[in-house]
């Protein structure tokens, strides 16, 4: 089948993103949804971050002025979420890579998923405590 016919077939049948609501998601689907959301979220932050880092070239005044934004409480909370997202994305990414390259891994799909949650929490909780403490002081 050519790409063209593949597309025809699909055009007549697809339900689009609304279909997500119609399926009671198994763990794998949840983990993927989070992987995608966190990946895109981190990307968004990265793009912003590149812009602001570019501003170092405009000298300390411009740059430091901008930093006030970063110190705003809303941003501080966003920062924690960013870290959470990245940790989750990294842990789940490792799970995916394991499934890809370790032939027996599919048997432990559920366990690996719980492993991701465990690794995520183990990394994130101490980080979060440190970060919250920093905000409060």
């Amino acid at each position: 089948m050519t790409t063209e016919t593949m597309r025809d077939v699909h055009r007549a049948t697809t339900r689009g993103i609304t279909a997500y609501r119609g399926y009671r998601p198994p763990p794998g689907m949840i983990s993927w949804a989070f992987h995608r959301i966190t990946g895109l979220g981190v990307l968004l932050f990265l793009l912003l971050h590149i812009v602001d880092i570019f501003l170092v070239n405009y000298g300390p005044d411009t740059f430091n002025e901008l930093l006030f934004l970063y110190r705003h409480p809303v941003f501080r909370i966003g920062e924690i979420i960013l870290v959470a997202g990245l940790y989750y994305h990294a842990a789940n990414g490792v799970r995916i890579i394991l499934i890809d390259f370790w032939p027996a891994a599919y048997r432990y799909e559920r366990q690996l998923f719980y492993g991701v949650i465990a690794v995520f929490l183990a990394g994130f909780l101490p980080t979060a405590i440190l970060m919250i403490r920093a905000i409060l002081t």
């Binding site: 990265l46 930093l67 990414g93 980080t127």
Partner: protein, 137 residues
């Protein structure tokens, strides 16, 4: 009517890009565990945004190591993330025209951000501002 279309004959399509993209996700992902998480831990956990300012960046980028580190992270994360965004585009935008447009935007973003990011990381010269500051102060 469900008359089966005659089956489509043997053909030898070409592919390849998706394979490299898939591979790149995994390799860059593994490297990003060290780069991105290391970065986040250093910049957002051990140090906090309270401590970070223009001078902090300037000091850090005195070392070629950190410059290389940051540039590699920028490069990998940007391509990894935008490639991920491309997957999302393929999933959610199906009209051919819109899809081409979205892909063009992603590629443009990749090039533009790679350039401004590289300018920031590679061409930043703090001494320029130090002399300026001294001269002005």
């Amino acid at each position: 009517m469900t008359v089966a279309r005659p089956h489509i004959g043997r053909e030898r399509p070409s592919g390849g890009f998706e394979l490299y993209s898939w591979y790149f996700f995994r390799i860059s992902g593994l490297l990003l565990i060290f780069l991105a998480i290391g970065h986040v831990v250093i910049m957002h956990v051990i140090n906090t945004v309270d401590e970070i300012d223009w001078q902090f960046v300037a000091d850090r980028w005195n070392s070629p190591f950190w410059r290389a580190y940051d540039w590699l992270m920028l490069f990998l994360a940007l391509l990894h993330g935008l490639n991920g965004a491309r997957l999302a585009v393929d999933d959610y935008i199906r009209p051919q025209g819109w899809r081409v447009l979205a892909h063009s935007i992603l590629w443009t973003l990749a090039i533009v951000f790679l350039i401004i990011g590289s300018i920031a990381v590679l061409t930043f010269d703090p001494s320029r501002f130090e002399t300026l500051a001294q001269a002005g102060g």
